[in-house]
């Protein structure tokens, strides 16, 4: 993660780290999701990262096309909300980086902004609804102005932790959990926790 810019190689490293971590992360995420949803979030993460892992070696140098192949791998494997939203984020990154082989680290907040916008549209959710969106937004704000990947990951990690704390006492407003909104007060949103674990895994 000390390269000068985000390249396809960055995606390979990140992808294999996530795939390696997924089995360890899954039980916690399944349990969290089971309390308010259908308990498949850990499985979804395993399926998504496993499918990505299979395409990593063959990814093209065009970062945009590489993101696109990752997105397609996820759509094949993971059909629960989190998988679809992950694929949506990857597709938005694909559109934003198409034709480039090097993406400067300072572009990360903009890529996150693009992902947030696409996910909002896809999932018809807003910031504040206590979803993975709120964790992404925290990461976007925290990485703004930073140009080193390690610093960005550290800042995102801390910011998501704060967001989790801030949202814990509030109700979930979208997804499966919506129906039981009141029962979600005092519980962390599983998707936000998933993003925290992803960032932690990428930090290594």
């Amino acid at each position: 993660m000390t390269a000068m810019a985000l390249t396809t190689e960055t995606l390979r490293t990140a992808g294999s780290r996530l795939a390696a971590a997924a089995d360890t992360l899954a039980p916690e995420l399944n349990t969290l999701d089971g309390q308010i949803g259908d308990g498949d979030l850990g499985v979804t993460l395993q399926l998504a990262t496993g499918a990505m892992a299979e395409v990593l070696l063959g990814l093209p140098d065009d970062v945009g096309l590489a993101f696109m192949q990752c997105a397609q791998a996820v759509t094949r494997a993971a059909s629960s909300s989190f998988g679809t939203l992950l694929a949506t984020a990857l597709m938005s990154a694909a559109k934003a980086t198409k034709g480039r082989t090097d993406v400067p680290w300072t572009d990360i907040p903009a890529l996150l902004a693009g992902a947030i916008a696409s996910i909002k549209q896809r999932g018809k959710a807003d910031l504040g609804d206590k979803t993975v969106l709120d964790a992404l937004e925290a990461a976007r704000l925290a990485t703004d102005g930073l140009d080193d990947p390690a610093a960005q990951l550290a800042a995102a990690d801390a910011a998501i932790a704060e967001a989790l704390e801030a949202f814990c006492g509030r109700p979930n407003k979208v997804g499966r959990a919506r129906i039981w909104a009141d029962r979600t007060i005092g519980l962390d949103d599983p998707g936000m926790v998933a993003l925290k674990r992803i960032v932690e895994s990428l930090r290594g």
């Binding site: 259908d38 498949d40 397609q72 759509t75 094949r76 494997a77 993971a78 059909s79 629960s80 909300s81 679809t84 939203l85 694929a87 949506t88 597709m91 896809r122 999932g123 979208v174 997804g175 499966r176 129906i179």
Partner: protein
Amino acid sequence: MKKILNEPSAYVDEMLDGLTLAHPEFYQRVAKRVIKRPDAPIKGKVGIVSGGGSGHLPVFTGYVGAGLLDACAIGNVFASPSVDDMATAIRAANGGAGVLRLYGNYGGDVMNFDMAGDIAEMEDIETTSVLVADDVASAKSDEREKRRGVAGMVYAYKIAGAAADAGLPLAEVTRLAQKAADACRTIGAGLSACTVPQAGKPTFSIGEDEMEMGLGIHGEPGVWRGKLKPADAIAEEMLGHLLADRPIRSGDRLSVLVNSLGATPPEELYILYRYIAPVLQAAGAEIVMPLVGRYATSMEMAGVSVTLCALDAELEPLLLAPASCAFWTV
């Protein structure tokens, strides 16, 4: 778990193996989890695709057939199909005249089908989408768009399928499918739960003498749970909910679907129909093509749903037009 199966993880794929082996004249496998009519894509005809979780036969895959769906993407039991399979289904249905995505209003399915639509768009396939949201117990009438899609799906399939068969363009097929979806109101009542094979235990538990009014086809909670009522009282209350949402106007022509959620036998459905038909007629409606049977189910769940579909001069002939699949012949 009392089910006839092998590995729970193989449930859906083995089911599709059997379905396509038994009825190759209706169902052809395009991908592991995608089924199409053998003659799809039909050049110049608007394609209709659907999709959703398994465990609801004949919904969704069963309705692939002439005058019905062109292709269908299939998820695990009660889980959304993948975006990829949905995109494959859209391609399989595309005869060059565009494709309607017609399916039930469930968050995951909607996100995935929208994304599949985006993919199709990148491939220059024109698509539209209509969501079936007919379960009156799942949201008030001022939030109709939030309702779950249940057995009303069958009317939307039938009417949209006939419109596409008639050679109408995508915009028209889409309009008529939306009109059919809007014409349907459904309410369910459950007597027992069912078991998702990979979960291995029932989705909920309910007392030996209890029923749940308004429950969804995945066992989503309903309006009330309490002591099992006599058939006529159940039918009366179900009609009450449906007619409160859309009162009968004299001269109405309605189709009625009395649907088993699975275990409930046709004998009980006919006992309900016996109560329902005269009530509708007394209120001034004429009943058109009543359907009594298993049209949208939840595996071995005991329970029923009642759907009213309000017809007009445009919808009625489309409902009555010929259609056939392994589960239904009109």
